[in-house]
Symmetry: C2
């Protein structure tokens, strides 16, 4: 039993059902920004009756309760993050993976602020480009071409 997952749920005002615990536990244990499908595949082995519906509903619930973050950098690339502290994300356009950039200064918004009369309570900063690994693969391919 994952005490961290349990606490996150209870602290967020969510009842810790089997499925919710398993999904939250997966999120906390896989800091790879999984998609809905990733979560489903990862958890269904443990909770064989799990349905995609529940994963959809549960992840939405989590993000509504700020028990997890929904990240939508790109069309066709919705993923989730159990880390609810503000941090910067980086999407590799080649492999589609999302990385955390821990050293980057993330926009902080501890409390909602008002700007031009608008109430702002959430901020997201992300970068796009090509990750180290994909860059190296590209280099390899170029070498091979020349050789």
């Amino acid at each position: 039993m994952d005490i961290n997952a349990y606490n996150r749920l209870v602290d967020s005002g969510l009842r810790p059902s089997t499925q919710r615990l398993a999904i939250m536990s997966y999120l906390l244990g896989h800091r790879t920004h999984p998609t809905v499908e990733d979560v489903f595949q990862g958890v269904v082995t443990e909770v064989p009756t799990l349905s995609r519906t529940t994963v959809y509903n549960t992840l939405r619930l989590f993000s509504e309760h700020k028990a997890a973050q929904m990240i939508t950098i790109d069309d066709h690339h919705v993923c989730y993050d159990g880390d609810i502290h503000p941090h910067v994300h980086f999407l590799c356009r080649e492999c589609g993976r999302v990385f955390d950039l821990m050293d980057e200064k993330a926009p902080k918004l501890k409390r909602p602020v008002t700007r031009d009369g608008n109430l702002i309570d959430e901020a997201q900063l992300y970068y796009k480009g090509v990750c180290k690994e994909c860059l190296e693969k590209e280099k390899e391919n170029n070498k091979n071409k020349i050789a």
Copy 2:
């Protein structure tokens, strides 16, 4: 004939067909962060044979060529922006509209940079919250409740 639309296309290496000109012209003339459907509805009156397929393909083409920005703040809220200078976006969760926050300092990335071996060539910062108008509507509703 919209010379700005024309130039943007040619500068981006895109052939200025009737449809592309009309779509780019719409983008440049409507700084409201229109969705694909918005663009379609706005342009079809002018180019009656226009199809949604073409709008999809064309907007994707634009963003691939950096002739426009695709903005995906939220799941189910993909929109486009003819303004290709970096600026901060603000999504109102109530009405779903996206605003520009011009006074905010946007992350600048004139040239691609390397960070931890990753090549970063694009940055997006956005805020979420409730816009001025929706806040005022809420206030109105509360007043009425009390009265």
